[in-house]
Amino acid sequence: MSPYPNVILYEEQSNFMQASPLLQEFHPGPALLILAWVVVWGGIGGVVTPRIYRRRDLDASKATLYGTIAGAGLGPILLIILWTKTPELDWRWNVIPSLTALGLLYWAFATYHPANLCVTSGTYVISQVSNGILIGILYGVIAIGLTLIFSILGIVSFAHGQFYMLGGYAAFFTISQTMGAGLHPIIGLLMAGLITFVIGVVFEYTLLRPMHLGKVERPGEYAILLTFGLAFFLEYSALAILGANPRKVDPFFNLGNITIGAITLPPSRVIAAGIGLLILVILLWFLNYTWLGKALRAVSQDKQAAAVVGINPLNMNTLAFGLGAMLAGLSGAALVQVLAWVPNIGALASTRSFVVIVLGGMGSLPGAMIGGIVIGIVESLGVGCFPDVSRALAYQQVFGMIIFAVVLLLKPTGLFGREL
């Protein structure tokens, strides 16, 4: 109790949502039974299957993942087949059990909270998923930049979010009619890409290159400290020079409200996601059909072999860092029409990109893209479906982290990580 009758302490407020018209009944009992079935059989599958494979001298590297999914999806039926026949595992063994596992989880949720919008309204689910995909594409593009840097240079850039922030500001000051040059949004995008690319290249060439030339005693720590330093430098320089006032531009193109069937999408996000996809296509073309792109991929696979065939790995490092920074910058430019842009906006983007690339598999480009979209959808659905409406948004990042933890538990290299 608070010593003051009119002062309500936080602990005493647990019931203050009771009058809500949105809260309905919950049935935890049957839902827990279904959940227990999934978890227990998944656990048994995950623990027992690799042992059986190992005892028979078979490749057990995928057995934990496949065993868990088989157990969670089809319970003892599929597990007994796996255990008796011990077939060679490939992705086909995953399709049906993962769908049924998802179905069972959904069933458990629907039993628990039958009045939930995610159970009663298909349109609602679709609009949440499409929102998640739109924002997830941008998460993906940011993360691709980070994973590109990682796969070529072998370092994690802690300044990635700050390049994203810079890109947004570059676009703002190119496009804005009132505070900037008032140029066309496409020029704004190009400027954002150019500025972040140049800063990235200069930074890599002057400060990171000594690391690859063997002039630095502890290259790993050196890279961490240096990119951290760059992050602080960029963020606080932006704060000092550009000020803390939020900036934003109008949507690049006037599309009006976009309605597909029963769902309405905010135009600024659709444009941002469209730009993200365009960037992705151009990047894929660059990596697969140009000499430089092929050289980058060669270096990421084997530095020495690439050097033997005449590719200078040092130059590829510089190019990769510049490209990575540019991808972050372009995403920032795409999102400056969606979010109020402030100098510290990069911090959240940085942490989210780390999660995305670890989830997708360090160094994997498709992994980063799919990881981004998965995080986008999971966060969106998590907030949309979580039974306690009032707390849902506060848990936004938790939903992504749960998926992150589950994936890493079953497949420590991430969704598309290279097999160890």
Partner: protein, 489 residues
């Protein structure tokens, strides 16, 4: 130099037993320096401790400022025969060493100021407060400072984080030795900072922290000129009742301000038969799409009430507008961050018809002090109207300066006493603190009225055209201040 110090130390050691018998003084006295005197010897003789010599230096210099017949000691190692110096009493020396006498950066009065200057705090709020502090400081020093000495203002960034509030307060009190602290924007910071102020017995005037508990704990050191959260909720609820709302969505932040504010608003709405749902978001949340979708899928609210602060509120308001539940689709009470019209229109271009709550006198009731401050504020920041937190920051510092002057010393009890008796005319109007140590809060009143400015004007105003300046808004509630009718979307 080392050599001198060495001999100094040797002589000190030889002489110590000879003088240690002298009785310490109970009364301060003047003393004329004799041959073979040095300060630590005199300190030992009169104050009983050779290490007490800085107190002699300090008080002699204080006297020198008033009366030139006293010597000015610029280096405690060098005194000349024939100088008139002042030997303080034991009490004075103790006061000097315990820090209750202003001593750091001798010759200035140090006051601390708290404000959020980086995220997740409200940076725009903190920046506005900083500008206001600078104006107040200039005015105070131009008018001769406090107690005849210039004021030095030490501004500390609290980042809107409770733990930073504790650290900032400790730094101001223990490291910088401030005599009083003013400012702060976030309640979460105020709640922790007030504990440090109380433990160290340093008076503090909070500028923009609304949480009831800040004054309700009735610490002698804590004063507030911001409105109290529960009183604001009362005005909010009355406004919603007057527009005939039946169901309201409250969008709030997960903080020491947002949680109780939402709770108080809900309770008051329920008293008036208005149903409500509260959605919580972390301060700094960027993407509101999922929750906006959720609000759209639920029953249609008559109003959305945004209790998020700073840039976070802008993101929500604009994203809601783009999704079709913005201020042009239904009644939206935007966060008072909208008072910074430049930042608001830059981030919420679809924010026309936003209603927001304004603290401080409406323009037609501005005093001369308000007008003078507004003019200086415009010159400094380019903003046509000062935000309420800017006015509060300005008043908190000027108020502290006036209190120290009226107290006639930097003694904390004297300052607290002066604040309890003060009548200060500033940008917010006439500030007084009716209830405190002298006049306790009556049994039948809420304890939150302790050391609380009772009458900050709270009004609801509305933007009526895109890009409008905050100075030109229409006051739509309450009747007393009304300048126009509410435009309903």
């Amino acid at each position: 130099m080392k050599k001198y110090l060495f001999w100094f130390a040797v002589v000190l050691m030889l002489v110590m037993p000879a003088v240690s018998g002298a009785a310490p003084l109970n009364q301060g006295q003047d003393y004329v320096v004799q041959a073979d005197d040095w300060l630590s010897k005199l300190a030992e003789k009169f104050l009983g401790d050779p290490l007490a010599y800085p107190a002699i230096t300090y008080y002699t210099n204080q006297k020198n400022a008033e009366d030139e017949s006293y010597a000015k000691i610029s280096n405690s190692d060098v005194i000349e025969v024939g100088w008139k110096i002042y030997i303080p009493t034991q009490e004075e020396a103790q006061a000097y060493f315990s820090g209750s006498v202003q001593k750091v950066g001798e010759g200035t009065i140090k006051i601390g100021a708290l404000m959020p200057l980086s995220a997740p705090g409200s940076v725009s709020g903190g920046t506005a407060m900083k500008a206001a502090f600078e104006i107040a400081l200039e005015e105070i020093n131009a008018a001769g400072g406090v107690l005849g000495q210039p004021v030095e203002l030490i501004m500390v960034d609290t980042e809107g984080l409770p733990e930073r509030g504790t650290a900032a307060m400790q730094r101001l009190i223990n490291q910088d030795g401030v005599v009083g602290v003013v400012g702060e924007y976030h309640s979460a910071v105020g709640l922790t900072a007030k504990e440090v102020a109380h433990d160290n017995h340093v008076p503090v005037i909070f500028a923009e922290t609304w949480n009831d508990n800040i004054t309700a704990v009735q610490y002698p050191e804590v004063f507030r000129i911001a409105p109290v959260s529960s009183e604001v909720a009362e005005v909010d609820a009355n406004f919603l009742q007057s527009v005939g709302a039946k169901y309201v969505v409250i969008m709030t932040e997960n903080t020491g301000y947002g949680i109780p504010a939402a709770e108080q608003t809900e309770a008051r709405l329920a008293e008036r038969g208005i149903e409500s749902d509260t959605y919580f978001a972390d301060l700094g949340t960027l993407d509101f799409a999922p929750v906006i979708e959720r609000i759209k899928a639920g029953p249609k609210p008559d109003a959305i009430w945004v209790l998020l602060t700073g840039e976070t509120s802008f993101n929500f308001e604009q994203q809601a507008a783009e999704a079709g539940i913005g201020p042009q689709n239904l009644l939206m009470i935007c966060n008072q961050a909208a008072a910074d019209s430049e930042a608001f229109w830059a981030s919420v271009p679809d924010g026309n018809l936003c209603v927001w709550r304004r603290i401080g006198l409406p323009q037609q009731l501005w005093t001369d002090a308000t007008k003078a401050f507004a003019a200086k504020y415009k010159e400094k920041t380019g903003k046509a109207t000062p935000e309420s937190f800017a006015m509060e920051a300005y008043d908190s510092l000027k108020l502290m300066a006036q209190a120290i002057n009226e107290a006639g010393s930097t003694d904390p009890d004297a300052i607290i006493n002066a604040l309890e008796n003060i009548t200060y005319n500033g940008a917010l109007g006439t500030i007084t603190f009716p209830y405190g140590l002298k006049n306790p809060v009556p049994e039948d009143m809420d304890p939150k009225w302790w050391h609380q400015f009772p009458d900050p004007a709270i009004t609801m105003v509305q933007y009526t055209e895109k890009g409008q300046d905050a100075a030109d808004v229409t006051v739509v509630f309450p009747e007393k201040y009304k300048t126009g009718e509410l435009i309903r979307p």
